[in-house]
């Protein structure tokens, strides 16, 4: 496989063709929640609604668990998963608070203080990752 020059960025998924292919049905499910009638149907019976989308068992379990990071690890993209979050009343900033593990309040404080610095956050090696 071709080396990807963006794979050494820590804490980041670049939504490329491989991820798009893996996450296709998951993402199509998420975007369906853009519309109120679909949100109503999903909220009335999650299991029946999810049956319409041939995603993997792991993806389906991550949806049910609202495991926001696992959804990304399994091919979800943030602009899609944010539709599921919005359905649950979670906006982009609070979703980021959950994904970073910081919690909503600490994350908001970090942003008010200027956000996460680039220093120490450019390469996986700086995070002690391969």
């Amino acid at each position: 496989m071709t080396q990807k020059d963006y794979e050494d960025i820590p804490g980041t998924f670049v939504f490329d063709a491989d991820r798009s292919r893996e996450g296709y049905h998951l993402n199509q499910f998420c975007i369906s929640l853009r519309l109120q009638k679909n949100r109503d149907a999903f909220n009335a019976d999650e299991a029946a609604y999810l049956d319409k989308y041939p995603m993997t068992e792991a993806q389906r379990a991550a949806v049910v668990a609202r495991d926001w990071n696992l959804l990304l690890e399994l091919g979800g993209n943030i602009y899609y998963t944010s539709k599921l979050a919005a359905n649950d009343g979670i906006n982009f900033q609070n979703l980021a608070g959950l994904m970073t593990g910081m919690g909503v309040d600490d994350y908001r404080d970090m942003m008010l203080k200027g956000g996460r610095s680039i220093e120490g956050n450019r390469y996986k090696s700086e995070w002690g990752e391969d």
């Binding site: 020059d5 963006y6 960025i9 820590p10 804490g11 980041t12 998924f13 670049v14 939504f15 490329d16 063709a17 798009s20 996450g23 296709y24 993402n27 199509q28 998420c30 975007i31 929640l33 853009r34 519309l35 109120q36 949100r39 990071n69 990304l72 993209n77 943030i78 602009y79 899609y80 944010s82 539709k83 919005a86 359905n87 906006n91 982009f92 900033q93 979703l95 980021a96 994904m99 970073t100 593990g101 994350y107 970090m110 942003m111 008010l112 200027g114 956000g115 996460r116 610095s117 680039i118 956050n121 450019r122």
Partner: protein, 284 residues
């Protein structure tokens, strides 16, 4: 003849739209964001564009994963603000200059930019937030002060078009506009950015040094800036910071030498560094 007189670079953070729609722009959190647009609103009211060519990206709203056009030009008569998952924004329907839009589409394709043509399209915050910050609050039953030609650029699925391709497209947009016989004052908006990452464990990344470099070079060294590879945006400005390639379309449509008449930069708006710049052509 139609002419491009000025370019506007502008973030399109959805929370900025929510702040305007819910009337909380005077709160301490938001006040500094909007203060930077006070000049811009006076400026655009004086300059009175007839048409804005607005470069933005759709955030999985009008386009789902089944179809991902790199460049999609809006040719419909009107564009309705979309429900993005929390209800449509209460802002006016966006009206096109359909004749100019189809002229630009034809001209671009003959100029070897193979556009997707959208005869029906809803528009999301990527398009409506820049209009809102520049024109202020306008009720849903009102009218935007000018016509808008949307150009949706894929920046969701990697790779977005290169900075160079966007810059060259801007030049082709200018050629198209200048070959349209109607006397029109056209402005071009490049939107998105600045540094931000919305996803996963590095979410919240902000890089003011990168953003300042980008704004400086946008005015002074646009060709050099347009050569920056995607990985530099992704690493230095966050995974969603790659939206900034869209500013190159705006810059490419302007003169080589421009006058920077306004700049605004503020952190944060939600997860994002807000950047805004106004560039004027010198011979207008």
């Amino acid at each position: 003849m139609a002419r491009i007189t000025a370019g506007v670079g502008c973030s399109h953070v959805p929370a900025i739209g929510v702040a305007m729609d819910t009337g909380i722009t005077e709160q301490p959190y938001w006040q500094p964001v909007f203060k930077g647009f006070e000049f811009s609103r006076k400026w655009i009211a004086e300059k009175k564009p007839d048409v804005i060519f607005l470069v933005y990206n759709d955030h999985c709203t009008a386009f789902d994963a089944s179809c991902i056009p790199t460049f999609a030009l809006g040719a419909a008569a009107t564009f309705t603000p979309a429900d993005e998952g929390w209800g449509p924004r209460p802002v006016p329907i966006v009206r096109n200059h359909q004749k100019l839009a189809s002229h630009i589409a034809q001209s671009l394709i003959l100029d070897e930019f193979d556009m997707t043509i959208m005869n029906e399209m809803e528009v999301d915050h990527g398009l409506t937030v820049p209009l809102s910050v520049m024109f202020g609050e306008i009720p849903a039953d009102g009218e935007w002060p000018c016509l808008v030609i949307p150009l949706a650029v894929n920046v969701v699925q990697y790779p977005a078009p290169t900075g160079n391709r966007c810059y060259q497209l801007g030049k082709a947009v200018r050629r198209a506009v200048e070959s349209f016989p109607e006397d029109l004052n056209v402005m071009i908006f490049g939107t998105g950015g600045m540094s931000h990452q919305l996803q996963y464990k590095r979410a919240g990344l902000i890089n003011p040094e990168f953003d300042k470099m980008f704004l400086d070079k946008l005015t002074q060294d646009p060709v050099g800036l347009s050569q920056m590879p995607h990985v530099d945006y992704l690493r230095e400005a966050g995974s969603e910071g790659v939206e900034m390639v869209m500013w190159h379309v705006m810059r490419g449509a302007l003169d080589d030498e421009v006058t920077e008449v306004h700049r605004h930069y503020h952190v944060p708006a939600s997860n994002t560094a807000v950047g805004h710049i106004i560039l004027e052509n010198k011979d207008i």
